[in-house]
């Protein structure tokens, strides 16, 4: 799959259609976001896999116990291009949308390509609707997440509208090249959409109210107010944050005042959260924020029938919907 992505990126860059291709780059053994601006850099492009099919936890353990040597590990990785081909998108994720917003604020007239997973694309759709990105200036190249990752994320739609398909040849028609990918009739694997409400949410809802309160308090008590959830959130694009307003959230104390801090963020997320889960991943205190925002999303879709980023609504449609934009 990665070779296909590279080919598409190359075509896009060479045709001059995009100024840069925002994707992940593997360098110095680390994966990070990178704006590829020239074709020869594309060798470093990666889809987010750290160690192929192995998950990150076990590799960390192995490293700590000193049983695996670091250098060969990296080489295995580089050599395992084939494996990546099959496993598809890996676990290393970054808020590429958020970075794109920042880039295009500085270069408003340029067009950029971006590697998108299901969550990334949901984010893009919301950002289009919220005027943070111009759909005409973004070319999406989609990749689908593997089943295990989708399950772990409880992702309702772990693929974008169009994604690079292994079986498809990339040297198709011109249109296909430009769009990067063709919509496939068949989903790459089973979505979790049927499982509403999500297991994590349902589990909590089965508790007594007071137990639920204690459960959350235990989590919120760990918050160190690092703003990591906000800083990584692709939907948090405000220049100034309410949560840093002294009137709303008292400064100078951790854990931050409950419920103001966490619920205010949950309310702000209500119409925004595209359920990418980066907040939970980024949280150093391991607060299950995603579960909270998932619930906020559930309520919103119950109330208004709209789940941010999921429906194929155009920005103008969203503007006309009576129930959106209220929160």
């Amino acid at each position: 799959m990665i070779e296909h992505v590279k080919t598409i990126a190359k075509q896009l860059l060479e045709s001059g259609q995009i100024t840069g291709f925002l994707s992940l780059k593997k360098e110095h053994g680390q994966i990070g976001p990178h704006l590829f601006q020239s074709v020869d850099q594309l060798d470093y492009l990666c889809l987010g896999d750290t160690t192929g099919t192995e998950n990150r936890e076990s590799s960390t353990e192995e490293r700590y116990s000193g049983t695996v040597e670091s250098k060969p590990e990296i080489e295995t990785n580089r050599a395992s291009g084939k494996q990546e081909n099959q496993s598809g998108a890996g676990k290393s994720r970054y808020p590429l949308n958020k970075i794109l917003v920042r880039i295009s604020r500085n270069y408003p007239s340029d067009c950029f390509g971006i590697l998108v997973r299901g969550c990334d694309e949901r984010g893009l759709k919301r950002l289009f609707a919220l005027n943070q990105l111009d759909p005409d200036k973004v070319v999406r190249v989609g990749i689908a997440c593997p089943q295990d990752l989708a399950d772990e994320c409880e992702c309702l739609e772990p693929w974008p509208d169009k994604w690079v398909n292994d079986t498809e040849k990339t040297d198709g028609s011109e249109k296909e090249k430009i769009d990067g990918t063709e919509k496939s009739d068949k989903a790459p694997h089973e979505p979790v959409r049927q499982k509403l409400p999500c297991e994590s949410v349902a589990r909590l809802e089965s508790l007594e109210a007071r137990d639920r309160f204690d459960w959350w308090m235990e989590h919120f008590a760990r918050c160190i107010k690092c703003y990591g959830c906000r800083d990584i959130c692709p939907m948090c694009f405000c220049k100034e944050c309410s949560l840093q307003d002294d009137n709303l959230v008292r400064t100078g104390e951790i854990p931050p005042e409950y419920p103001v801090f966490h619920l205010a963020r949950a309310v702000h997320m209500a119409e925004r959260c595209i359920d990418c889960g980066l907040c939970s991943e980024a949280c150093p205190a391991a607060i299950p924020l995603r579960t909270l925002y998932k619930k906020a999303g559930d309520i919103m879709s119950n109330e208004s029938g709209v789940r941010p980023g999921y429906s194929d609504l155009t920005p103008s449609d969203i503007g006309n919907l009576p129930q959106t934009g209220e929160y």
């Binding site: 949410v201 639920r212 309160f213 308090m217 419920p259 906020a296 309520i299 109330e303 209220e326």
Partner: protein
């Protein structure tokens, strides 16, 4: 409803209430602690009843779980320099 001085203000408020109720319930604060009702100036007795009932309900529920967690030291004193 619909008679808001600001046109749609009470609809907006209602939407918020509808959103907040399940949300606070989800974090373990009984949703019955949040109560909204729209009454016109002509419905005095209804308003009184509603508030009385709400207070009774709250009494029955006992103190909020938040009560023990809130710091009372929140008043800013900076601006009152003698």
């Amino acid at each position: 409803m619909g008679e808001c001085h600001y046109l749609e203000g009470n609809y907006t408020a209602q939407k918020r209430i509808n959103f907040l109720k399940p949300l606070i319930n989800f974090v373990g604060i009984e949703k019955e602690r949040l109560h909204a009702k729209w009454v016109s100036s002509a419905q005095a007795s209804e308003l009184v009843n509603d508030i009385t009932n709400f207070i009774d309900d709250l009494r029955e529920m006992g103190p909020s779980p938040l009560k023990s967690k809130i710091n009372p030291d929140s008043i800013k004193t900076d601006r009152y320099k003698p």
